[in-house]
């Protein structure tokens, strides 16, 4: 062990890191951020930006921290006079041609150039009399716009397309101070993962057309979440402004998606802002549905379930949280129960150089979670069962009109839905539930990793999380049955009856998730 670890002193702080670690990562471990542009933990380091120059004792010159690996007993000064002076000069060079258009730049507020110039740059320019280099804005692809004037030529985008996506369409064209990021003739930046170059760009040079001028960085509320686009379960951040989701960005998780997220997931947020939502619980009164409060609706649901026996069917979406799926299953466990999820499919789009990272064929995030809580994928069989069932519960899944017509013949149809739908007029009870952006919850991805997503916006009207609806109804159905107060309680409660979820808590899942028990034991493959 001691062989593999070396001790380095960085700005007076001693850290032990594995041999071969770049200095910049060792400094991170010491709690010191070495300013950098071209270095990125998920990309090869070329040391072109010269921003991470640090002073290493006994070295003749300043060394770039991103490619210098640690050696035992090294003494490094990140903030010595020589290093600060070098970085100040690098920043001055970068600003020779960088326009002062922060007020109209989308990156302002989350721009590394802005940050470091404020932190350690020169207060005034010495190049006021010189005209800046100018190149017109270039359209790179479906969602990416290149503004060459702002480019600092860190080449992160070039390296991402070359080494990570393995679809080398970008290059550094021209030489010297005329260089810019070029795209090969007739090539388009339309790779399935190309949107990542926008996140990688440390300045506002590569911008997303979708997000252009939409919000300022400081207006955004950021929430840690999980992408609901496929069974990969990429970690993401939901950025909202005034309760409206404006963009999704990847959140680093070295075990799932590293720093990346595909374009399909990135642009799949508009449904979170839909306005045509069910806003109040509806129960059947005569030939139409009547809006009531939650207590009446839950009483009606409990009464209906108390009076029925025989077959029950749950037609669920695998986009519902493990909590919601589990609690709904538990609500109906006195019946002869058939529970199924529908799994829509699409094409698979892997990110070439990262193992086990792709936009998956299964386009729902929680198939594994559904299977752990007692659901099958036998959707058509469940639909056949539903025709003659006493109770049918539709959980967060929009049924096609012909499917709904078949289900109507069942004794009681209960819909737990988000978006209002004309077909629901034929249901007996319609309960408004929150979407994944409006509740806490957890998903289990295809590798059996349970991950928490958190509430990013308020739910409209009286909508409540589906786990709450199911658990409250179950509490009314059976006296003395414990009702979870939070989504965290719900997962703990499910863990008591489902061995695979045993010991799972939001705290233990944290921000990066953890494998569920059965996956750790047998390696569940979905």
């Amino acid at each position: 062990m001691s062989d593999a670890l070396v001790t380095v002193t960085i700005d007076g702080i001693e850290v032990q890191v594995p041999r071969g670690t770049p200095l910049i990562e060792a400094a991170k471990q010491a709690g010191i951020l070495v300013p950098h542009y071209c270095y990125h933990p998920s990309l090869p380091a070329p040391a072109v930006c010269r921003m991470c120059l640090v002073e290493v004792e006994k070295a003749p010159k300043l060394l770039p921290a991103c490619v210098t690996t640690v050696t035992d007993g090294q003494v490094v000064h990140v903030n010595s006079d020589a290093a600060l002076k070098a970085r100040e000069s690098v920043l001055e060079f970068l600003l020779i041609n960088h326009p002062l258009d922060c007020p109209i730049c989308d990156q302002a507020g989350e721009c590394e150039l802005q940050d470091y110039v404020f932190q350690e740059g020169r207060a005034a320019t010495r190049y006021a009399d010189y005209a800046k280099r100018f190149n017109p804005v270039e359209d790179f692809g479906p969602d990416v716009l290149y503004i060459p004037n702002r480019c600092i030529l860190c080449t992160r985008c070039v390296r991402f397309m070359e080494a990570v996506a393995e679809d080398p369409v970008l290059n550094v064209s021209e030489r010297g101070d005329r260089s810019y990021i070029g795209i090969f003739p007739d090539a388009v930046l339309d790779h399935e993962w190309a949107g990542n170059v926008v996140d990688l760009c440390p300045v506002g040079s590569l911008v997303s057309k979708d997000f252009l001028h939409k919000a300022r960085a400081w207006d955004l509320d950021r929430t840690a979440s999980i992408c609901p686009g496929c069974s990969q379960g990429c970690n993401m951040t939901i950025d909202t402004r005034d309760n409206v989701v404006v963009r999704l960005r990847p959140r680093p998780n070295m075990d799932v998606n590293r720093h990346f997220m595909c374009d399909t997931g990135r642009q799949d947020y508009r449904w979170m802002n839909r306005g045509d939502r069910i806003e109040a619980p509806l129960i059947r009164a005569g030939d139409k549905l009547q809006a009531v409060d939650w207590a009446s609706a839950l009483d009606r649901l409990a009464d209906t379930l108390r009076g029925a026996d025989g077959k029950a069917v749950i037609l669920a979406s695998a986009r519902a949280s493990t909590e919601s799926l589990g609690m709904t299953h538990r609500l109906l466990d006195g019946f002869e129960l058939t529970a199924a999820v529908r799994v829509p499919t699409g094409h698979e789009a892997p990110l070439a150089s990262i193992p086990n990272l792709a936009l998956r064929e299964e386009r729902t995030p929680n198939v594994a979670g559904a299977e752990l809580t007692g659901y099958t994928r036998a959707w058509d069989e469940a639909l056949d069962q539903a025709v003659s069932a006493q109770v049918v519960v539709v959980l967060d899944e929009e049924l096609a009109p012909d499917e709904f017509d078949r289900v109507r013949t069942a004794g009681t149809v209960v819909v737990l839905g988000t978006v209002d739908h004309p077909a629901y007029q034929a249901a007996d009870i319609v309960l408004p539930i929150a979407t994944m952006a409006e509740e806490h919850g957890s998903y289990v991805n295809r590798d059996g990793r349970a991950q928490v997503y958190r509430q990013a916006k308020a739910s409209p009207g009286m909508a409540r999380p589906a786990w709450w609806v199911a658990a409250e109804a179950a509490g009314r159905l059976a006296e003395g049955r414990a009702v979870p107060a939070t989504a965290g309680d719900a997962i703990v409660m499910l863990g008591q009856s489902i061995p695979a979820l045993a010991g799972l808590t939001y705290q233990s899942m944290g921000f990066t998730g953890r494998p569920v028990a059965s996956a750790a034991a047998s390696g569940v493959e979905s």
């Binding site: 922060c102 007020p103 109209i104 300022r216 400081w218």
Partner: protein, 168 residues
């Protein structure tokens, strides 16, 4: 029990109102003969010696460029700095790819006239004005939109200059 009232014995000649009334009226008539210093606002508007300070912070004005378009680039700093949260801004892109405000509205009722918006503006577009006549017949008219802000013609405030604290 009977209520007893204490009656003061005053010399009646000395407390006669006539003397005091004449004294007061003499002051009144004296002023009637002197030149008037009252300005009959609003029939009469300000004169040279009644100008308001250059640092006065009144209702806003948006300055325009040579083509008559607003100088605003919708950077979002004024809604951010505004302590009263009275500025509504939605950014957009015009036909030349320039960022500009699609919606720019200031609620003058909510405004506290601190002048921070003028101070923070990197384009010197939004200004508080040297102006005080703002009455309207409807409350809704106090939300000034971009067109209204651009149409204002009153002079703009110089704000307080730290290097010249007394405005000399």
């Amino acid at each position: 029990m009977a209520i007893t009232v204490k009656v003061m014995k005053r010399p009646t000649q000395e407390i006669s109102y006539v003397r005091a009334a004449l004294k007061g009226m003499s002051l009144t008539f004296k002023h009637m003969l002197q030149p008037s210093v009252t300005m009959q606002y609003p029939e009469e508007k300000s004169q040279d010696d009644w100008t308001i300070s250059q640092r006065w912070r009144g209702t806003h004005r948006m300055l325009t460029d040579e083509e008559g378009r607003s100088k605003c680039v919708a950077c979002g700093l004024c809604p951010q700095v505004c302590p009263a949260n009275c500025i509504k801004l939605v950014a957009g892109e015009d036909e030349n790819g320039n960022r500009y405000p699609l919606i720019y509205e200031i609620d003058e009722f909510r405004c506290v006239f601190c002048g921070y918006c003028q101070e923070v503006c990197p384009e010197e577009a939004i200004h508080v004005g040297v102006h005080y006549e703002n009455s309207e017949y409807e409350r809704a008219r106090f939300v000034y939109d971009l067109e209204r802000l651009q149409a204002q013609t009153h002079p703009v405030s110089t704000l307080w200059d730290p290097s010249d604290p007394r405005g000399e």
